[in-house]
């Protein structure tokens, strides 16, 4: 299987450094029903500052791939390099931020205390912070809610707190695992626009897993399509849309055509 032909297209200069370098990664899970190959020989290079969305049917290993990059799952073979070092070293350096599908907030901490959690944990204290926790809550649209507990917040607001928490260490790589999957469509649209603004103002590299074709096309510079059984890279579809995207973009012909194209590829996955 050769995947050298698959390349990410990006808007900025071609000479940027590689943020994530995945070489021949295979992941297997053993269950009662036998061994499942979740990821089969994945090869992928993500340049720094890219926004890549990962799309595919359930069981294609998109969340697994994200977890391998975050050092949450050990691959059976192959290697992963995150910003020039192993994922565990990158994680220790606080270069990786992770946003889960469920906000995973600590219910006994207020919004601002949840955002500050990464600063209290893991030994080394950050020397300088790019944003204060208060500024980050403002950035995600939660000014005035600093002292609210998670149970007082809606699902969308909790997810915003989780994003602010991931950004507090100013990570160079942000991994998002279906972060808006459980939200209603209106909230999801708004957060999609906000995420693009956050990406523009932070310049961080984002890998974003989703099962929504619209979300994948709207957010990504490229969409990585994965096929299931075994999980493998099917195709990389570049999204040649302007950088400053608004939800109304979804009504344009160009966007509708892209979605149709992605849907056709997905049907073969």
């Amino acid at each position: 299987m050769t995947q050298t032909s698959l390349k990410l297209s990006t808007h900025s200069s071609p000479g940027r450094a590689t943020a994530v370098d995945i070489i021949n990664v295979t992941v297997r899970f053993t269950t009662d029903r036998g061994t499942v190959t979740a990821l089969d020989n994945i090869d992928l290079q993500v340049p720094a500052g890219a926004f890549l969305t990962l799309l595919g049917p359930s069981g294609c290993g998109k969340s697994t791939l994200l977890r391998v990059v975050a050092d949450l799952i050990e691959p059976a073979s192959g290697s992963v390099t995150v910003l020039g070092s192993s994922p565990s070293v990158a994680r220790g350096r606080r270069d990786i931020g992770f946003v889960f599908q469920d906000a995973a907030l600590l219910p006994w901490r207020t919004a601002i205390q949840n955002v500050e959690l990464p600063l209290e944990i893991g030994g080394q204290k950050p020397t300088k912070q790019r944003w204060s926790s208060k500024e980050l809550l403002q950035l995600v649209g939660l000014a005035g809610w600093e002292h609210a507990f998670p149970h007082e917040l809606s699902g969308g607001m909790r997810q915003r707190v989780a994003i602010a928490r991931a950004l507090i260490t100013d990570p160079k790589l942000l991994l998002m695992d279906e972060p808006f999957g459980a939200l209603d469509e209106i909230t999801r649209d708004r957060l999609n626009e906000e995420l693009l603004q956050i990406w523009a103002s932070t310049g961080t590299t984002i890998l974003f897993v989703t099962h929504s074709i619209y979300e994948a096309a709207f957010l990504g510079e490229n969409v990585l399509l994965l096929a299931a059984n075994p999980g493998r890279v099917k195709e990389i579809v570049p999204i040649p849309l302007p950088g400053n995207r608004k939800v109304s973009l979804r009504e344009t012909k160009g966007f509708v055509d892209l979605v149709a194209q992605l849907r056709r590829v997905l049907e073969t996955c």
């Binding site: 949450l72 994680r91 600590l106 219910p107 209290e120 944990i121 007082e152």
Partner: protein, 282 residues
């Protein structure tokens, strides 16, 4: 019901109609008073019927003393009752502390060491199925007639519910919370202090509330087996002497102490678990 409304957060979408808000809060307050007053009125009613029945049917005092007779003993023998309560309370409180501490430590070991749990948890269940009245004499034989045996019985009776609840509580963390801690390179100690302990607090408090009343039962049962002092000893003496007013007064003092113990734990729970709204409401 009032958690969000009470906070002075600048909520978008809430109108500033103070009159409406005041009426709403007055209604809530009225409902809360109703909830407190109704049981008090019912309790007073039952006591009144009891008093009238005892007088009307001329029931002998040793069979069922009138509430007024019990109140009289409570007043006249207050010193005697309190000195016996002191003994029982000491036993119950020490048993409560020792039993729960032991349960906390063993639950922690269980959570971090599966083999130990698999080996010893079935034994703990077996011990728990033995009734207090069966093992109490054994402990009195082993530890003698003093405070130690009663403290041990009280501790043992507190131990099991807390062990079960804490083992579950310390495991009550989501996979994503654990993944988050790993992303943050948290040490095992940080995972324990910042995540597991806090997650287990609702479980701990529901166990402590059970233990608050069972600790007193344990101490009293221990005193029945053999003691010269304590509410349990007083109950036995009063029963043998057909001194029913004293028996009832002892029971009133015992339940008052249990209730107070429970109230203190509940108060501590409300202070600690301000974030756990579901638990506080139920």
């Amino acid at each position: 019901m009032t958690t969000i409304m009470d906070q002075a957060l600048p909520h978008r979408g809430f109108s500033a109609d103070d009159g409406e808000r005041e009426r709403y809060q007055a209604r809530i307050r009225a409902l809360q008073w109703r909830k407190r007053l109704l049981p008090a009125v019912a309790c007073f009613g039952i006591l009144a019927i009891w008093e009238i029945a005892v007088r009307g049917f001329e029931i002998p005092p040793f069979l069922a003393p009138a509430p007024s007779a019990v109140a009289q003993v409570l007043y006249a023998d207050f010193g005697l009752l309190m000195s016996n309560l002191l003994t029982t309370a000491t036993e119950a409180i020490l048993g409560f502390i020792i039993g729960n501490l032991a349960a906390l430590i063993i639950a922690t070991v269980f959570v971090y060491h599966r083999t130990t749990e698999e080996a010893f948890f079935p034994i703990a269940v077996m011990v728990h199925t033995v009734p207090v009245l069966a093992y109490a004499p054994i402990l009195v034989l082993l530890l003698g007639n003093g405070l130690e045996a009663k403290i041990a019985i009280s501790a043992l009776i507190c131990f099991f519910p807390t062990l079960v609840n804490m083992t579950r509580g310390l495991r009550n963390v989501s996979a994503q919370q654990l993944e988050l801690m790993r992303i943050l390179s948290a040490s095992p100690r940080e995972v324990f202090v910042k995540l597991r302990i806090k997650s287990s607090l609702p479980y701990l408090f529901s166990a402590l509330k059970i233990a608050a009343s069972t600790a007193v039962i344990g101490a009293i049962v221990g005193e029945w087996i053999g003691a010269s002092n304590g509410l349990g000893a007083l109950i036995i003496q009063a029963t043998y002497n057909y001194n029913s007013p004293l028996l009832y007064a002892t029971i009133v003092v015992g339940s008052a102490f249990s209730g107070l113990f429970f109230a203190i734990v509940s108060w501590a729970e409300r202070r600690t678990l301000t974030w756990n709204v579901d638990e506080a409401r139920s």
